[in-house]
């Protein structure tokens, strides 16, 4: 099973489980959790079930295409289930079979791993799921987001697609992984890794980035005042990514760092609060829908 088949298999599995299959969001972000379909949907009383592939950009993880395991940009496969189903672990274990892993043939363990994102005001409790000693999934019960306690609780399942595909295909370097269409992961992505590593570590203009950060922050707050929550959140995402670039560039000192994080957080928390107000004003539209049960 090559890389794209893995993603297709996951989409198929979760579609059968009744999830909305979303598409990647088109603003740069560090993790699938930041996708509006997770960040906002976990808030408030409305049920939600979605799955999507989430390209995740982490400038400091760039390795110029030299490291066989580390990437500036990788692809998470993200599932969000709200409220968390009673049998969510069993569903998850069945999902492994969708790409040919029989849990009885492997050493699958749920090891404590909690997650926290200061910039999103978000925190969760859960595990990393390891298979034969390799983490293949981050499994989290969201406890807080946007600085608020959540109720109901969402389960977030994040598959590390590259690792799983490498394991399945017994390849030692991510760049040798077969993507699909006869091409390797390296054929498709290597140049991007090299160029963005150079950009992130060497070429990015810190002054410009600092200005962009400030402007995005101002614009986000301005839009919030006008009741434009989702557009404001796009600017919060831009702030977050710009901050990550500044950090990779080594342009943020220790004392400044906390300040930057708090500024992004303030904007994100503002978005979360106003989103809830907006949903409430609309009468929590999704409460009227009974979410489909899975047919898998």
């Amino acid at each position: 099973m090559n890389f794209q088949q893995l993603i297709l298999a996951l989409q198929e599995f979760w579609a059968r489980e009744g999830a909305v299959i979303q598409q990647p969001y088109d603003v740069e972000m560090g993790a699938g959790t930041m996708h509006p379909d997770t960040f906002f949907r976990v808030l408030g009383p409305e049920p939600w079930k979605a799955a999507y592939c989430a390209p995740s950009r982490r400038p400091v993880d760039g390795r110029y295409g030299q490291n066989p395991f580390r990437l500036y940009r990788h692809y998470q496969f993200q599932v969000i289930l709200k409220p968390s189903p009673d049998d969510v672990q069993e569903i998850y274990l069945r999902s492994l079979q969708a790409f040919g892993i029989d849990p009885a043939d492997h050493d699958i363990r749920f090891e404590e791993d909690n997650w926290e994102s200061p910039t999103l005001g978000a925190a969760g409790v859960g595990w990393q799921v390891s298979m034969d000693g390799m983490e293949i999934t981050q499994f989290t019960y969201f406890q807080q987001s946007g600085g608020m306690e959540l109720r109901p609780i969402s389960a977030e399942i994040t598959y590390g697609t590259e690792r799983i595909a490498m394991f399945l295909n017994d390849v030692a370097s991510v760049y040798d992984l077969e993507w699909g269409g006869g091409l390797s992961y390296g054929d498709v992505r290597l140049q991007e890794e090299i160029e963005f590593s150079r950009h992130n570590f060497e070429a990015a203009d810190s002054d410009l980035l600092s200005r962009l950060f400030r402007q995005s922050e101002d614009e986000g707050h301005r839009l919030l005042k006008q009741g434009l929550v989702l557009p404001a959140y796009d600017y919060a995402l831009r702030c977050s990514h710009t901050f990550n670039l500044l950090e990779a560039r080594g342009a943020i000192s220790v004392t400044e760092r906390t300040g930057f994080i708090q500024r992004v957080r303030r904007l994100a928390v503002g978005c979360a609060r106003d989103y809830l107000k907006e949903r409430e004003a609309r009468g929590w539209p999704l409460l009227r829908h009974r979410l489909p049960e899975g047919d898998g």
């Binding site: 030299q66 490291n67 066989p68 395991f69 580390r70 409220p83 968390s84 189903p85 009673d86 672990q89 274990l93 849990p103 009885a104 043939d105 492997h106 050493d107 699958i108 363990r109 749920f110 090891e111 404590e112 909690n114 409790v125 595990w127 390891s130 298979m131 034969d132 000693g133 390799m134 983490e135 019960y141 406890q143 959540l150 109720r151 109901p152 609780i153 389960a155 490498m166 394991f167 017994d170 030692a172 080594g250 943020i252 000192s253 220790v254 004392t255 760092r257 906390t258």
Partner: protein
């Protein structure tokens, strides 16, 4: 089986995977809560101590369980007293019942004549005595258990689903059996029954438990070893056999203990049915330092590294899987694949990191936060260097030669590895990795070793750094962190110790005590606090306040260490009451007190110290004037003091505290006579002040070793309330 009328209760809470680090604490907590509940409810058929023999707790990743034998089937009948109004309000001056009494009686369904008089904390009241029939055990348990379980505490809890319950992980099933009867109760929406569940892979087949005693064997049938010790022993046996089959033994983790008991504990709580799987890796990786290989094996994969008879690492490892068998060899293959990936990664880090010298990596410390309010690691490294300069002379004065230049170089570089990819990937490699890179950079062995071992001892049982230079850095690093955190007013309390300061202070005490280094802790702490300059951040406290709090914290840890060494609590406290300023010296004084406390003459000194403390309490200190004595007993004691003091000073200078105590013991006779013959609180002010001054000097002499009055002599309780709970 249980005897007639004596019952056994079983409770199992089935959950999703509980964090490995929490299982032991949680099962003990559950056991204590249950036995406490049974005791309070009058359900224990035997005294509490005996009841403990019937208590067993169990824990696996997916369950916490407790079984308690020796329960009554029914609470004993009791007489309950219900107090009404006080007698004076219940009857008027003519002795007739008041409206209050009549109303109370009516509310109780009685005539006022039926009321009795009860002694209560509010005084004598009218009231009712009623026979209360004991309830059946099952009824009591059903009512109490849910709140007991949900009241358990964990280091971290969560909500799930609709979010109505808080627990360590979602609850999926509950077994509650009193002998063979289900105790019907509900916890977090889950109804109890007699059905447990086995290992995930054993399928969904329920395990029906006929009675409480069938638990362990029932679960074994479902591929679950419920007993923690049994599971740990099973893993250990398999590990030993597998290691033997590979002609090796389990390697110690860097700076840790052979056999890797920490890892063994952790994997015990990650599996319900352990299977040790043997694997191999490409011997070419053995070119990497053994520390890196071992860390890579244990960090993510929780695998045990093996070493051969010659001590060199083998290209083999042992993984502990949670399965019955590796039926198609896929687990072995999987672990081998993953380890190859990890080692490739580690080799990549090694090569990448080595493109720069450790010195060059150190430049990155400017951008690495030590603590958001305390600045960067670059500043920390500078403070460590300064503090190390202040500590080094204490080592030298204690007869330990120090390479000062090596200390300086190592202090500058000891945190540099935090900027390397290797430590970012394997944080537990801190120090070790820096040491390895320093060696590879061609720095002297002294510098490299100091960096390598400066983080030791990490755990309470870890070895101390062998090199004195490393010990100095270890102390400087720790004291610097302690000072910074206390300056922020963040004193550890209860289970809150986010910076691991208890462990850090314990480590500092061990270094000073076991290395026999004499210091003034107070001076060192002041030096460390001064390293932060004026700290203008939220919540910062003045340095004097931080120093006082930190010294108190040290006292608590020294007390703990002393007790752990088998010394009696009152000996420990008596020595610490004298001074905590030199931890090594305090330990020697504890030991001396422990050695002499059973001497017949010592009780006299204890009594004398108590009397002295009582008499001089609140009196302003005055110098003793030997010319102003009147009585012979007074003169003798004064002479004894003057004769003893220099001897004690001399003995204590070479830390012969037992000798000092023996010298002090010679004052027992004169003291006895003094108390018998001399009246201290006489009218003549000059005489009185001089006698008080004499006693105070004697008291001060005692306090050079310890506060004798804190020692409990057989039969006489200590009268000072010096009992200070360790924080």
């Amino acid at each position: 089986m249980s005897g007639a009328g004596v019952r056994t209760f079983l409770l199992e809470i089935g959950t999703e995977e509980i964090p490995a680090r929490m299982v032991d604490g949680a099962r003990h907590d559950l056991g204590e809560r249950l036995i406490g509940l049974a005791g309070r409810a009058g359900l224990l058929a035997v005294p509490m101590q005996a009841a403990r023999d019937g208590l067993r707790t169990f824990g696996t990743p997916r369950r916490l369980a407790v079984r308690l034998a020796g329960l009554r089937s029914q609470q004993p009948d009791e007489t309950a007293e219900i107090a009404g109004p006080p007698v004076r309000a219940a009857f008027d001056s003519g002795g007739r019942p008041t409206a209050a009494a009549i109303g109370f009686a009516r509310a109780q369904g009685l005539a006022v004549e039926d009321l009795v008089r009860l002694a209560t904390p509010r005084g004598e009241c009218v009231g009712v005595r009623r026979a209360v029939r004991g309830k059946p055990a099952a009824e009591v348990l059903a009512a109490e258990i849910p709140a007991m379980v949900l009241g358990m505490t964990f280091p971290k809890t969560m909500r799930w689903g609709r979010g109505g319950t808080v627990f360590v992980r979602p609850i999926h099933w509950v077994v509650a059996l009193l002998d063979d009867q289900v105790v019907d109760l509900e916890i977090a929406g889950v109804r109890s029954g007699r059905t447990s569940r086995g290992h995930r892979l054993a399928g969904a087949a329920p395990i029906l438990l006929p009675d409480a005693d069938a638990y362990v064997e029932g679960l074994r049938g479902g591929m679950v070893i419920a007993d923690v010790r049994e599971r740990r022993a099973a893993i250990e046996t398999q590990l030993r056999q597998a290691a033997g089959a590979s002609a090796g033994e389990i390697a110690a983790p860097p700076g840790g203990i052979a056999g890797d008991p920490d890892l063994l504990d952790e994997v015990t709580h990650l599996v319900e049915w352990p299977l040790v799987v043997r694997g191999e890796f490409d011997p070419a990786f053995l070119a990497l330092p053994a520390e890196i290989l071992i860390t890579a094996m244990r960090h993510h994969q929780k695998s045990f590294a093996l070493r051969g008879a010659d001590g060199a690492l083998l290209n083999r490892f042992l993984a502990v899987a949670n399965v019955r068998e590796d039926r198609s060899g896929l687990i072995r293959k999987g672990h081998e694949w993953v380890l190859r990936a990890r080692l490739t990664d580690a080799r990549f880090f090694w090569e990448e990191d080595r493109r720069q010298s450790l010195e060059a990596h150190a430049a990155g410390l400017e951008r690495l936060t030590f603590h958001e309010k305390l600045g960067s690691y670059a500043r920390k490294a500078e403070r460590i260097a300064r503090l190390a300069e202040a500590i080094a002379p204490a080592f030298e004065a204690s007869g330990i030669p120090i390479d000062r230049q090596a200390v300086r170089d190592a202090a500058r570089l000891c945190k540099a590895d935090l900027c390397t990819q290797m430590v970012k990937e394997f944080p537990e490699g801190e120090g070790i990795v820096g040491g390895l890179y320093a060696r590879a950079d061609g720095l002297t062995a002294r510098v490299a070793d100091a960096i390598y071992a400066h983080y030791l001892p990490r755990g309470a049982d870890d070895p101390l750094p062998a090199a004195a230079e490393a010990a100095i850095l270890s102390l400087a690093d720790r004291i610097d962190t302690q000072a910074g955190i206390f300056l922020l007013g963040l004193v550890p309390s209860g289970s809150r110790d986010p910076y691991g300061l208890r462990r850090s202070v314990l480590a500092a005490c061990r270094l000073l005590i076991e290395r026999r280094v004499r210091v003034s802790l107070r001076a060192l702490l002041d030096e460390a606090l001064a390293g932060y300059g004026t700290l203008a951040v939220d919540g910062a406290v003045p340095p004097e306040e931080a120093r006082t709090a930190l010294l108190e914290f040290y006292r608590g840890r020294m007390e703990h260490l002393g007790e752990q060494a088998g010394l009696r609590t009152d000996s420990v406290r008596a020595a610490l009451a004298a001074s905590v300023d030199d931890p090594g010296d305090a330990r020697l004084r504890m030991e001396a007190l422990e050695a002499i406390r059973n001497d017949p003459g010592f009780a006299v000194l204890v009594q004398a110290h108590k009397r002295i403390k009582n008499i001089v309490k609140g009196q302003a200190p005055q110098p003793f004037d030997r010319g102003a004595v009147l009585e012979e007993a007074e003169r003798a004691l004064g002479a004894g003091l003057e004769e003893t003091l220099p001897e004690i000073v001399r003995l204590q200078a070479r830390q012969d505290h037992l000798g000092a105590l023996r010298a002090i013991a010679r004052l027992a006779g004169p003291l006895d006579r003094f108390f018998a013959d001399v009246m201290v609180l006489v009218e003549d002010r000059r005489l009185r002040d001089n006698r008080l001054a004499l006693l105070r000097s004697i008291g001060d002499l005692f306090l050079r070793v310890g506060d004798f009055s804190a020692i409990v002599v057989e039969g006489t309780p200590a009268e000072t309330g010096a009992a200070r709970k360790s924080p």
